[in-house]
Point group: C2
Chain length 644, copies 2
């Protein structure tokens, strides 16, 4: 979509911040302003283009079609009829607004700006006199719990917070308002957000428990912190802190699900793992991380470190997917990671990215950038089609031949254009349109590159401006060339060496040195004209599972660079089922060239054999990157491949 | 509990039939009347004693405590207040009544008879003028669907059949009424049942679809057939036939779950597998089997054969457990059989037994008696504690060390005394109190013994009475001695040789011959004084999984006779977790003596080693029969044991 506005320079746009702007000095690393890091080509640029050109415009149409916008009109009294959709329908509007705002920041468009203004005006009109805003609860009320035999509804505000999602919707509004303000400079939606936030402060703000519940679905915590950062109003941070502290004290118990589901079994600072509903758990943790850094709460931050580490070690799929259970959309027990029934909700991968990003900013620890990359390239990217407008809600690691799609979320049925519960699609949109913000950070010593994509970084450090040009074919190839166009003296350029990159090296001025995986390789005192080249060993490798993951026992996964690979049945010889394939760990797969129909993916040749029934014939198959599976129609697929 | 009534002889009681009495000539085999086959000692006698002495009396107290009986009083207008519990609360009362009736038949007791009369009177009083009976729907209404954002309820009869369970409750009433009539000779409850059945016939009976739905939860089908058998009223059979035929035509779609969940995606006679909610699916199949035999519908029976075979081959746990998903309590795709998240509801094992029994009667095929035995000894028996009054709803095959019980049904939390949704406990009770009926059948040639327990069989054949005395320590030992006390000339005694019993032999008059597993060994023309001895090779054996069952890959299961074994962490050396254990397929486990604290179970010594972390030390553990696990407190457990 061509833009007719005059584009500001990166630095003109970069007067504010991206989705997360910690108060300086509360974190180890600072995010760069929006526009300061730009992806210009390659895998992620293609995803962003599809997102901007198709998904976001389509998204607005879906919000119209599914009633979300009508709900706001009904609440405003400008339309008749009954509100539709789930109780949290407003949140999809807010996520879409956030996506549109960041997209406008990334690629300004009068049309998009007009859309943002129009939809924002619908939101503003639905707000009540005293700031309260929730079209569905106001008009239809919320059920006490989602179970049979409970026909009770109530339109009384905040009377059923475990299920009403009123704070959840407010949180997404705050995030949207911050995005619109930062990306467009316009403050109408921020005014709406501030009025609602003030209303929340008045209603819940004394910390003494005027109401008995916290919201069943976290997100308001990180949103309130960001609103505090944007407005400078400390009451919002204080309210966020109270919501985090109130968690785990049984406030949300006994509402259809137990307290575990709601992250309400154990206080956040005492928890040692993540549990319950995965999206709720990681959203809460991300908000707690925001609270921890803004309040200087080292104990809370340390607890979050422990939880994140335990999640990575025992409750994260090789794809970075989070949440192993359909039932309750929940984290299971440690090492409970079924492939076929992996839930691995797209929203959970997004929440995982948000939490990892906050932990990375807080600590500077490469483990978080590694986790973020794994989640982003696999569990998140698989959630959207290459064309940009079809979505997986659930990201399985195994679909059987002839598997029966008995649910709109079932991966066996392929990606869908929208869902009755449409949390994932606009969540994907806002993540893609704000993705550039995850590439780089700064600190007193210089610039850190955490994720690799061709593009530019232009950012002002205290000593002067840094301009970097990044050239790479990552993730398909492992060479990352960073040309320093400008840098104040003494600037250190730090490049993440992924944990999988055994044998990586850093070259500068013809000198090459080995750099250890899972760390940052540093080029010190870089100057204008310097070329710093990181060489990552991007080639196929087998990954063995933890022996305690039952479903993956006797299997290997194929990885290449940051990507996990999958075998799709459509690539197997006729009559060979994906579950017939057995591979040998001794025979390493090899690159098999680029597939333009799969987003330019490098495919990998896997040689195996066919298990009985039938003779044990040799079988060869070209595996595809996990995020590209199911782009040629739905079908059978495996990530973990049996070796015996 | 001592009985003060004078006990009738077996044959005096055997004037009617057990739970299933097909019209003669519609099936290959005929069940024996209640009391004709009696278990006198051993494993099942102990379970029955605990059931009669503790579970059934406790059950009545639970029905009082949880409001089920009050609901009936409220509907009758003899008590105030609001009805409690799930919409199908009445069905628990009916299952309890059925259990009490069979128990009275098994072991007559004035107290129990008084209880039956009293509870039956509550049921009768709650019935409405025109025969309608459902205390919860009448008083509170039923929600349209069990999902959030649907606060609508309706007290209009049959307006929400997919979720209202009105036919389901009626079905359980019919089964209870048939049981009370057959076991006590009293007909008050049968009159209630007939009035309700007549009302159903009038409301749904023209087959032209006066209402748009069939009940979301089958059971009324087999219950109506049995009521037809008991009363001779063919309209009930016709209604059952119509309910079976109406299935699979999309009547129940789009009510929160898709049609798959409700067994409503494919017509029963066209289905090739079982799918959706496991209990619903097998109850429907059992009812369809009844309809098929009574209407001589060979096509329908053949379809059920195919479905049963596919279930056994691809959707049945080694424990006989059915239903692999917590989400929707459902059968999954073929070979989707997770150990840790196995749902394997106790009720599904019971429904599996009911279906298998009807297929066995219809066909005489040993495969059904084999399946029945596996389900009964493992997936069913694990559902109740040795003490008789604590229940598992869910029968997992793997509980991890430190697993978090986040649900009252979670096996990690151990067995419970009752549940908010209490379908399983009274279902266990009625199964145990009617269990003798599954031991033996008759046909024109003689008597078939399908299940082995010490006891007696006394049954009249056309040519005269057969009296058998069975002596065995089965399942702990493999010798089954059948002494013929009386038999008309030409009687054939057929003894099932289980499919696992490779190397079995039959001895008679000092002559021994090998008999093939998975068949019936026949002793022809048995006469008074004959001793027929079946020798089954009951010893530990390793069972390898289907390679397509991911969760069991690289594992073996320990079996011994009809029992699956489990390793409990409490039996491992200190500090060794159940998930640390690795066994060698090459080393066969050995018997390790009887454990009186575990119901006289023979334990089995398994030698393995401890996997890293830590040195790979040799580890020895005494495995326990699966139905005896979790009788020493909850804890970690595995059925499938890794070999690598």
């Amino acid at each position: 979509m061509a833009s007719t506005t005059q584009q500001p320079t990166a630095l003109e746009r970069a007067t504010t911040a991206g989705p997360v702007r910690p108060t300086p000095a509360t974190t180890r690393l600072s995010p760069v302003p929006p526009g300061a890091a730009r992806i210009s080509a390659g895998w992620w640029a293609d995803r962003q283009a599809a997102n901007g050109e198709r998904a976001i415009p389509e998204g607005r149409r879906h919000l119209e079609e599914w009633g979300n916008l009508d709900n706001l009109r009904i609440a405003a009294g400008t339309a008749g009829g009954e509100v539709r959709g789930p109780v949290f329908a407003d949140s999809d509007v807010y996520k879409w607004l956030e996506a549109a705002a960041w997209e406008h920041g990334r690629s300004p468009s009068e049309q998009l700006l007009a859309d943002i203004r129009e939809v924002s005006a619908l939101v503003a009109a639905a707000q009540e006199e005293d700031g309260y805003l929730d079209s569905v609860v106001a008009e239809r009320g919320s059920a006490v719990e989602p179970g049979p035999g409970d026909p009770t509804g109530s339109r009384e505000r905040y009377s059923h917070l475990p299920w009403s999602h009123e704070h959840y919707c407010a949180g997404h509004l705050f995030q949207a308002a911050v995005a619109v303000t930062r990306a467009t400079g316009e403050r109408q939606l921020l005014d709406v957000a501030v009025r609602l936030a003030d209303h929340l402060v008045e209603t819940f703000g004394d910390g003494a428990g005027q109401v008995r519940d916290v919201d069943g679905h976290p997100v308001v915590e990180m949103a309130l912190v960001e609103l505090a950062r944007e407005t400078g109003d400390g009451r919002y941070l204080e309210l966020a802190r109270w919501f985090v502290e109130a968690r785990g004290r049984g406030l949300v118990a006994a509402h259809g699900h137990g307290p575990t589901y709601f992250s309400d079994r154990v206080p956040v600072r005492e928890a040692t793992t993540v549990e319950g509903h995965a999206v709720r758990a990681v959203y809460l943790a991300a908000g707690a991380a925001d609270v921890a850094v803004e309040t200087g709460d080292g104990e809370l931050l340390e607890a979050l470190r422990t939880q994140f580490a335990h999640m990575l070690a025992t409750k994260t799929y090789v794809t970075g997917g989070l949440g192993s259970r359909w039932d309750g959309e929940a984290f299971g027990d440690p090492h409970e990671l079924p492939s076929d029934r992996a839930y691995a909700e797209t929203c959970a991968a997004i929440g995982g990215v948000q939490w990892a990003w906050r932990m990375l900013l807080a600590t500077g620890d490469a483990v978080y950038a590694d986790a973020l990359e794994r989640m982003l390239f696999n569990g998140f990217a698989a959630g959207v089609s290459l064309s940009g407008e079809q979505y997986f809600y659930v990201n399985s690691l195994h679909v059987r031949s002839g598997a029966h799609a008995d649910h709109e979320r079932s991966p066996a049925g392929g990606r869908q254009t929208w869902f009755g519960c449409a949390c994932c699609p606009p969540n994907v949109m806002r993540t893609l349109s704000s993705l550039d913000g995850y590439l780089a950070t700064t600190d007193a010593r210089g610039v850190q590159l955490h994720q690799y994509a061709p593009g530019r970084v232009e950012v002002d450090l205290p000593g002067g401006r840094v301009r970097l040009d990044v050239e790479t074919r990552y993730p398909w190839a492992g060479t990352v060339r960073v040309r320093v166009e400008e840098a104040p003296s003494g600037t250190t350029l730090a490049l993440r060496v992924p944990a999988w990159a055994e044998g990586a090296s850093l070259r500068r001025d013809g000198h090459s040195e080995d750099v250890g995986p899972g760390t940052y390789a540093e080029a010190r005192d870089v100057r204008e004209g310097d070329l710093v080249e990181l060489e990552l060993p991007v080639r196929p490798r087998w990954t063995r599972p933890d022996p305690r993951v039952d479903d993956a026992r006797g299997c290997v996964a194929l990885e290449r660079g940051p990507l996990v690979y999958a075998v799709e049945e459509c690539d197997l010889p006729d009559g060979v089922l994906v579950d017939d394939l057995v591979v040998s760990e001794d025979e390493l797969p090899t690159d098999a060239g680029t597939d333009e129909d799969l987003g330019g993916a490098v495919r990998v040749r896997v040689r195996g054999r066919r298990r009985a029934p039938g003779p044990e014939d040799a079988v060869e198959v070209l595996a595809v990157p996990y995020p590209t599976w199911a782009n040629r129609g739905p079908g059978a697929m495996r990530v973990w491949l049996p070796t015996t």
